[in-house]
């Protein structure tokens, strides 16, 4: 990951180390140097403190008005009205889209309900990958991507009792770079399905555990849908579906870590 020409600069390596950019061999090297060099260790502490402070800054959300305007821009051109669509595409002005605003508000309201918007895709046959992705997207747009927030698997696992027929296997993967952040119950093919939420840097990974009786519980190869990667596998009679916007490699590493973790 790090180019060899940077190797002489211990400080840069510490930054890269804290950013999770080093391969295990370099990370180990940095850890050794940190252990024997108090000045470098102090620098690590300062960088880590700064990162925490930045991470704790309040995040301003885009105003609902902006979101409405953007949704209006795309929704203002329904599929049938190709004439209007051409005009929007060739017209740099935003105002071109305002004419159809009234019609689009209806669509926006429908989208706002959140429950079924993926079904708007005309003629789309919903595969399990689509359903899993829809749940993930809905979670991303919700104030919280999970219903129970905890990095403790002993909190998350019992939470599922009584909510789904069988609590899923919950493992702690923080050591592998995938900290657990919580869990939620999704619905896939009318079956409530336990879903665990893990984190990879700032990216979220949703992992749904489909029981064998779920009709949709068939594993499929890796997919990429609209920039999101999905991956599924079957283990102990349970079909797992992972979806995230992390790179396919990262998702594969996640599968490996999850399979190999001791529960």
């Amino acid at each position: 990951m790090t180019s060899p020409s940077e190797r002489d600069d211990a400080s840069l390596l510490v930054h890269a180390y804290l950013d999770g950019e080093l391969d295990p061999a370099h990370a180990l090297e940095v850890e050794r140097r940190l252990a024997s060099d108090p000045t470098l260790a102090a620098e690590r502490d300062r960088i880590a403190a700064l990162r925490d402070a930045i991470g704790a800054l309040p995040r301003e959300m885009p105003s609902p008005d902006l979101v409405r305007r953007i949704e209006a821009m795309t929704a203002a051109t329904p599929p049938a009205a190709t004439h209007a669509a051409t005009r929007l595409a060739t017209h740099p002005s935003w105002h071109a889209s305002w004419r159809a605003l009234a019609a689009s508000m209806l669509v926006a309201a429908f989208l706002g309900s959140g429950a079924t918007w993926l079904a708007l895709r005309p003629g789309a046959v919903e595969t399990t990958a689509d359903l899993v992705l829809a749940n993930h997207l809905r979670a991303l747009m919700a104030p919280q991507p999970f219903d129970v927030a905890s990095s403790d698997r002993h909190t998350v696992k019992p939470w599922f009792n009584g909510r789904v027929p069988e609590a899923p296997r919950v493992v702690d993967l923080a050591g592998e770079g995938f900290p657990l952040v919580g869990g939620r119950v999704d619905v896939i093919g009318r079956v409530p399905v336990p879903t665990l939420v893990y984190k990879r840097r700032q990216h979220l990974i949703s992992l749904s555990a489909l029981p064998p009786q779920a009709a949709a519980a068939l594993a499929a190869g890796p997919h990429t849908i609209a920039g999101f990667n999905t991956l599924s596998w079957t283990d102990g009679g349970v079909t797992y579906w992972a979806v995230s916007d992390v790179a396919a490699d990262d998702l594969a590493a996640f599968e490996k870590a999850f399979r190999e973790a001791k529960s």
Partner: protein
Amino acid sequence: MESPGTKPGSGDDQARFRTVVLPHLADAYTLARWLTGNRSDAEDVVQEACLRAFRSIRGFGGVNARAWLLTIVRNAAYSWLGKNRPAALVMVDDLDAVEQQHAHGAIERDAVPQTPEAALIAKADAAQLEKAIAELPVPFRETLVLREVAGLDYREIAEATKVPIGTVMSRLARARQRLIAKLGTSER
């Protein structure tokens, strides 16, 4: 490239836009907010970026929607800054000159007059920290925000900002050191 019947703005494009762009709107807004410095300018930039994204939604390769959108926001912000606040971009040239001297990413440790305790940094209040970030030169600021707020990795930042990974590393390190120096020395 466009065939009749699949004009931009068709239902598929809308669906794709909703799936690809909307989930990352908050990150897009945050980046624009940090690059322009205020809400209303950030909203203009995000609107413009979303229009660009919508128009080129079919060109999206399907790999990393967040990085793709943030790259568009970043470019839109640069166009906006060039038009409205060219002074903010002038220093980019000077910065390149400075970076040339540090071709191997060496960090000016001497530039940090004191080495504050980590505890002091942890106690810095939000307003003070935000002000310090806002005062960073744009290239440092965008690198820092793409990493710390949007969570892109070095390679994604290199692609978004069109510089080598070594430059990303040195910009990020120097942005952080400037902040550390500032937070460590300003007494409250």
